[in-house]
Amino acid sequence: MRRTITFTLNGKPTQIETDDERLLLWVLRYDLGLTGAKYGCGEGLCGACTVVVNDEAMRACTTTLREVAGKSVLTIEGLEREGKLHPLQEAFLRHHAFQCGYCTSGMILSAYALLRKTPRPSMEQILKHMDDNLCRCGSHPRVVDAIQEAAGAVKERA
């Protein structure tokens, strides 16, 4: 149904008039110009499109606009504050926790949602939480190192 949907996007109130059955991924990328979320599978199986909705990691490729109405959406573009990287971004950068980088936005945002709930995750919790985020280049060990390192810093900033 075509209507005006209102939600918070990266801290800013956002309104868009469109079909509310449309998928968040395409709206973010092509209507709102935020291309950090990537298409990888279209069925919520790879995690490249992950965004954070009300502190939960969600797959933007299977989430409709209606589902985010009135909620708060965070994308990779919203993590930097006043030109300063988020501790998770810093840690991914320092550990070179990426190669091709296509899955990286989704990795960082999945990790962000984990740390919001579990600021000091165990190794087991990290592996379980991140398990559905796929990476073909095999940066997994560095992603885990980066998340562990960022865990302390995130708590301080929050």
Binding site: Y30, G36, Y39, I76, L93, F98, C100, Y102, C135, C137
Partner: protein, 723 residues
């Protein structure tokens, strides 16, 4: 045939007689002041070998890369290679900065743009650093030598008394100084590369150092600012969805697009074999495509993923001898035991996270495509042919690419589709394949059969080696063990030239082509021989290796791993595998845990040792080694394309299972210091051991010899019962 030739074959690049090349001056146009060094890097030997080189229509034929030192002191390298994640945009400037004696930060690199860069075959085969690296270093040294001559004249100091630091030339006392930028101010100097000496490894300031050099793509990639082909969003752009057949070999009888046409804002294009629906919104284009009603003739399937191996043995082309010495019959006479086994592997997908994507626009008759491809120049040629336009009317720009591994080397139809549709609609068009299209058109790593017969004498020495590979190709089919009698043949492969119908869909190069298959078979078989001989598998290998570098990597791995031929508790096993790929020596050891009841395998720890000669970027090498282990777990344990004739049953990641975080072993990487050997490949070699190292560890754990990749839980469980 070299790997490059095979890629050219697989690309089906048309070799045109006109092969018009332009002069360097025409190509560069007005370039302003500076020092230019032109050089030919990459598959040089290849072009000397082939009678008819691929057309480089519209490009000079005497160089494929050049560098410029400008009046502001900045150094820019122009090269047609692309950044796939392998780190070339970080490591190539390191090579240049080292030889030029300039700050790394003052070196820029322009990659993968067919208007700005000279012709390049493509980015594959671990070639970027291995072949391009030495030439790039010599180009840097050439530029430095030219600048020193100019400085000698300017400062009136003999060249031998000059030194360079961070792009500033000075005399011994430091009182007379001039920068590279000042030297080239107001001048236009062109140099072809001549023979110039390189820095000795002992005076390196940048290369091979333990300090981590920051990746140049890092900040872009952690902030979401890195642009991939699909991130170019142009005003008025249409999203195109192209109609696909249900199976390879199917012919379209009827396509009814009337329902799609009724949707608001939908455009339907029918142009020969191309039927596409386009809309300003991707969602709407998807919906429109789903409304198309089709009827196809699908040829009956004659084989599937289970019967493909018999088919390969029956229909393979004539085998070619890869290597032979001695006489197999003689070897048999010397043997106390003969071991025969057949090894299989299924088709494997590249499954890059980024799907094949291209964004095209036509302005004033010029077509520009931002494209996810490993081969921008051959791809440009395909667009030129499809649109029937002059070469200068097409520009391919390769931004960041979301993974390649060979999967974007030979298949550029997405680029051609985007360009055709942009021309037909007069609007910018984006083609972003969905996951099922990527599986459908992926040039898979081919299914293959390897048959090995080998003998042992009473003293535990290998007497003969009779090796026959069908389907994979001859890469690393040769054996580096000391064996007096051997006969090695290969039939068919991942490259062009297979008989029609051998593979019902495209096959192509997959990270370390052929070598994963051949190494799995060889190293599994050597392990069986070691067990038969009653000798520890590491000791058995060392007894048969005289190559010093090979011995060294195996011994280094054993030390790092703490290899002890001791009894372990059932369910736990150690494995070893070693090999040579792309000039690089690799050895790997692994520990696995196998649940006998289910056949589930968890790899607990992997040690990977690599001697790649000189190292350019140590952290970059480690990233590649770790990535190869993680990626290798997939082809070893789960990755397998299911199909029925030309129908690909794999549509998404629910059935085609990639490695995950929970699979992650403890990984240790060791890079052997060998700075005086030439740089060899780094990204592909370590993956060749992953299949065999796990197979051998599974055997050690539960006594099951699994001879088919992937070693799924079912196959391991069946092996436990069988043995």
């Amino acid at each position: 045939m070299s790997a490059q030739e095979k890629i050219a074959n697989a690309m089906n690049t048309t070799v045109t007689a006109e092969a018009s090349t332009v002069s360097r001056r025409e190509f560069l146009g007005l370039t302003g002041s500076g020092l230019f060094v032109f050089f030919w890097a990459g598959p040089g030997e290849f072009f000397q070998e082939t009678p008819r080189p691929p057309s480089r229509g519209g490009y000079p034929s005497d160089f494929n890369a050049y560098l410029r030192i400008a009046a502001d002191g900045r150094v820019t390298c122009f090269v047609g290679k692309v950044e796939l994640g392998q780190g070339a945009m970080t490591s190539l400037p390191m090579l240049l900065a080292e030889e030029l004696d300039v700050a790394l930060a003052s070196v820029d690199i322009v990659m993968g743009d067919t208007d700005l860069c000279p012709w390049d075959m493509g980015t594959f085969g671990s070639l970027s650093t291995r072949q391009f690296g030495p030439v790039l270093r010599r180009a840097g040294a050439e530029a430095r030598a030219a600048l020193l001559e100019m400085a000698a004249e300017r400062l009136k100091v003999p060249v031998e008394q000059l030194k360079v630091k961070e792009g500033v030339v000075s005399d011994a006392s430091g009182s007379k100084r001039v920068s590279y930028g000042e030297l080239v101010q107001g001048k236009h100097i062109e140099r072809h590369m001549e023979k110039v000496g390189l820095k000795p490894a002992s005076s390196y300031g940048i290369l091979g150092k333990a300090e981590v050099t920051a990746r140049r793509d890092g900040r872009d990639k952690v902030t979401g600012k890195a642009k991939y082909a699909g991130d170019f969003v142009l005003p008025g752009m249409l999203h195109a969805r192209v109609l696909r057949p249900p199976a390879h070999g199917a012919t379209l009888k009827r396509a009814d697009t009337s329902a799609a046409e009724k949707m608001e804002g939908v455009r339907v294009i029918r142009d020969g074999d191309l039927i596409a629906v386009l809309h300003e919104q991707r969602d709407a284009a998807d919906k429109a495509k789903a409304l198309i009603k089709t009827e196809y003739d699908i040829p009956p399937a004659t084989f599937d993923d289970k019967t493909v191996f018999e088919h390969l043995l029956k229909d393979a082309p004539k085998a070619e001898v890869v290597d032979e010495s001695g006489d197999i019959a003689e070897g048999e006479k010397l043997s106390a035991t003969i071991v025969e086994e057949t090894y299989l592997n299924s088709y494997v997908a590249h499954a890059t996270m980024e799907t094949h994507t291209a964004t095209a626009t036509v302005e004033n008759g010029k077509v520009t495509v931002w494209a996810a491809t490993q081969t921008p120049f051959p791809t440009k040629q395909q667009v030129v042919q499809a649109l029937q336009v002059a070469p200068e009317k097409v520009r391919i720009i390769v931004p960041y690419v979301g993974g390649g591994f060979g999967g974007k080397a030979t298949n550029s139809s997405h680029v051609v589709e985007a360009a055709r549709l942009a021309k037909l609609t007069g609007k910018p068009v984006q083609v972003m394949w969905d996951r099922s299209e990527v599986f459908f058109y992926d040039p898979f790593r081919p299914a293959a059969v390897v048959k090995i017969r080998a003998g042992l004498d009473s003293g535990g020495k290998i007497t003969f080696w009779d090796f026959r590979v069908v389907g994979a190709g001859d890469g690393e089919a040769k054996v580096f063990y000391d064996i007096p009698h051997k006969h090695i043949t290969s039939a068919g492969g991942w490259f062009g030239g297979n008989p029609p119908g051998l593979h019902p869909f495209a096959v192509g190069p997959w990270r370390a082509p052929s070598a994963n298959t051949n190494t799995f078979a060889r190293e599994s078989h050597v392990d069986i021989l070691a067990r038969k001989a009653g000798v520890d598998p590491v000791e058995f290998r060392l007894k048969h290796i005289s190559d010093r570098r090979m011995c060294h990597v195996v011994q280094t791995a054993a030390r790092q791993f703490g290899w002890k031929p001791a009894a372990k508790k059932r369910g736990h096993g150690f494995g070893v595998s070693c090999g040579i790929y792309s000039g690089t020596y690799v050895a790997m050891m692994a520990e696995v845990e196998v649940e006998e009841r289910t056949g589930a395998v968890q790899v607990k720890r992997v040690v990977s040792v690599q001697d790649q000669g000189a190292t350019v970027n140590l952290d970059g090498t480690r990233q590649q080694m770790e990535g190869a282990i993680m990626m290798g777990l997939g082809y070893a344990l789960t990755e397998e394309v299911h199909f029925r004739g030309g129908e690909i049953l794999e549509r998404n990641f629910d059935s085609y299972e990639l490695p995950r975080f929970s699979w992650m072993p403890k990984i240790e990487t060791v890079v052997v210091e060998n700075p005086n050997q030439p740089v060899s490949g780094c990204g592909e070699p370590p993956i060749i051991n992953v299949g065999a190292v796990i197979a051998n560890a599974i055997y050690d754990a539960v006594g099951a010899r699994v001879v088919q990749l992937p070693m799924t839980a079912e196959r391991v469980k069946a092996g436990v019962k069988r043995d």
